[in-house]
């Protein structure tokens, strides 16, 4: 019996065949083997980092050596909640994120509507490419372009002068921050809104008009509610990206601080990682609430 087994002719690459047939019989094994490297990367590095960030927020630093001390306390959070400066910064950041989101939704909706429901196939493709380019084009480059446009000898003031209007000093103010954020995140709003509008069934729109609804009524009662998840999906990006950004306020803002700036200076200059971590919990908490709300509105089906 044993002799027979040993004497079986072995095909070349028998091991590979065995592994393959094992994968074929046990698909979950194949999934596990394939999923382990990327999942390990995410769990060991990314999730571990996020968890550590949460933990660090409850630690402190030695004020003299600026070394981290693992002494559990709520001082960082107490400081954020008690000092009006930080509360003001949080309110300012959230207001800016909300303002940028509303601005982008208002600009994007008519554009996406035209793209999805009026434009021909060819124009649709061209417009999609036209949104794709600024979506991917360098963030810093697009920000820098606005510095060139808004500064006092820039394109804007030159154009105003040509019309006989006194120059506007927009650069280095919160207004500039608002314009630049709205500009940079606009494509993030257009694409999901467009995708949602394209999925609104034509039959529903026709049914509404057959039933006597006017154009605006159809828009308000049929198209808008069906497209809303797309707008909300886009707003996740416009809102979240504004919440954490410090580059734009540093380069074109008027020196007012946003959450990102304070986090940035606490890592760079003050080297107070625990405080930065506690402050970083603010956008995480706000985004968690935002995502729960977005899920209720069906934005994840649109994602």
């Amino acid at each position: 019996m044993t002799v027979e087994v040993a004497g079986r002719p072995r095909r070349k690459g028998g091991g590979a065949v065995a592994i393959r047939s094992l994968f074929w019989r046990l698909p979950w094994l194949r999934t596990t083997v394939l999923l382990t490297p990327p999942l390990a990367w995410f769990v060991v590095i990314y999730i571990a980092s996020l968890v550590l960030l949460l933990i660090t927020a409850f630690w402190a630093i030695d004020p003299f050596t600026t070394r981290m001390i693992q002494a559990w306390n709520l001082d960082n959070f107490r400081q954020i909640l008690n000092e009006p400066t930080y509360l003001r910064i949080i309110v300012r950041t959230v207001s800016m994120a909300a303002l940028v989101t509303v601005t982008d939704a208002a600009i994007a909706f008519p554009f996406a509507y035209y793209m999805a429901r009026i434009a021909s196939r060819r124009v649709q493709t061209i417009l999609f490419a036209a949104v794709l380019l600024p979506l991917w084009a360098s963030y810093l480059a697009r920000l820098y372009a606005w510095i060139l446009i808004l500064n006092h000898s820039g394109v804007l003031n030159w154009s105003l002068q040509a019309f006989g209007v006194p120059p506007a000093n927009v650069a280095y103010t919160d207004v500039a921050v608002w314009i630049v954020f709205s500009y940079i995140w606009l494509p993030f709003m257009i694409i999901p809104t467009y995708a949602a509008l394209e999925r609104v069934p034509e039959s529903l729109v026709e049914a509404a008009s057959d039933l006597g609804a006017r154009r605006w009524r159809t828009l308000r009662d049929i198209v808008l509610p069906l497209a809303l998840p797309g707008v909300v999906a886009g707003s996740i990006f416009t809102f979240s990206l504004t919440l954490g950004d410090y580059i734009t306020p540093v380069l074109i803002g008027g020196g007012t601080s946003f959450i990102g700036n304070v986090v940035y200076s606490n890592i760079g200059i003050a080297n107070n990682v625990p405080f930065a971590a506690a402050l970083a919990m603010v956008p995480i908490g706000i985004m968690a609430l935002y995502l729960i709300g977005a899920k209720r509105l069906g934005a994840f089906e649109a994602l």
């Binding site: 999923l35 990327p38 554009f111 600024p134 500064n151 954490g244 990682v273």
Partner: protein
């Protein structure tokens, strides 16, 4: 009557938005050819003066070299990890599938500063010195998803019957992979790689928190704008970065018909 009016108004709106999107980028390119040292509009005249200066600036060149290096390593890692994830998720319906989708998108959906600070704290706590390697780790984390999205989308559109036919005709697993699966996937894989490269090349926030003394190109640009130094060179560098980030995307869009390039996970 009111319908045509609405149409005209919408068309006008579309034109205005397109102008809003593209005028700033055109302005940048014009400034790159400015002959003057002063950043004022209108530009004095056209010249290649600052392009020459920039091409001979050792600091700029070494920043470009580092950025390319980081982007290349990131791309390779993202390709491997993203493809693995896509192959694993494809054709399996297990409970954790949505969770994994969500997990992979998270680093792009959360503000970059969260990923940056978290990784900074992680390296700090682990006693890992910030270096090129830590930058690559940061970049790979948010680049995996673009490869994953592209490969997964293609796998879903590819018919399993082709693979089965090859197997029935006696091809072994490797042959099937080489002759059937890979050619079907190749453009999606290349598209994913292009996008990962573009994303990494332009990244600044995560880089700031994961870099030690290293200057990637975006960090160099940020420092110059902030200090108001060498702005004529910044015009040139920034135009170059626009091209480097746009060209891969155009190629990727051609290869995939636009689907995988939406960055915002919208087309599913």
């Amino acid at each position: 009557m009111s319908e045509t009016l609405t149409r005209i108004a919408l068309r006008a709106w579309v034109v205005l938005v397109l102008l809003f999107l593209f005028i700033p980028m055109v302005v940048i390119f014009l400034y790159a050819f400015n002959s003057s040292k002063i950043e004022a509009w209108p530009i004095e005249g056209f010249s290649l003066r600052w392009i020459n200066v920039t091409l001979n600036d050792a600091e700029v060149l070494s920043a470009i070299k580092l950025s390319v290096e980081v982007a290349l390593i990131t791309t390779v890692l993202a390709l491997i990890l993203g493809s693995c994830a896509a192959f694993a998720i494809h054709r399996t319906t297990f409970f954790g599938r949505d969770a994994i989708n969500f997990l992979l998108v998270l680093p792009l959906a959360l503000p970059g500063i969260i990923t940056g600070v978290a990784l900074h704290a992680f390296f700090d706590y682990g006693g890992i010195l910030l270096s090129v390697a830590t930058i690559v780790v940061g970049h790979t984390t948010f680049c995996i998803v673009v490869v994953y999205n592209n490969v997964l989308a293609r796998l879903r559109r590819t018919q399993g019957s082709l693979v089965e036919a090859a197997m029935d005709l006696g091809a072994n697993g490797f042959q099937t992979f080489r002759d059937i699966t890979l050619p079907l996937l190749s453009t999606a894989v290349i598209a994913g790689a292009m996008l990962a490269f573009a994303l990494s090349f332009d990244e600044i926030i995560v880089t700031t928190f994961t870099a030690g003394a290293q200057n990637t190109l975006p960090i160099w640009i940020f420092a110059q704008i902030r200090n108001g130094q060498r702005l004529p060179e910044v015009n040139v560098v920034v135009s170059f970065v626009i091209l480097i980030t746009i060209i891969p995307v155009l190629i990727a869009a051609r290869l995939t018909g636009g689907g995988g390039t939406s960055r915002v996970p919208a087309a599913r």
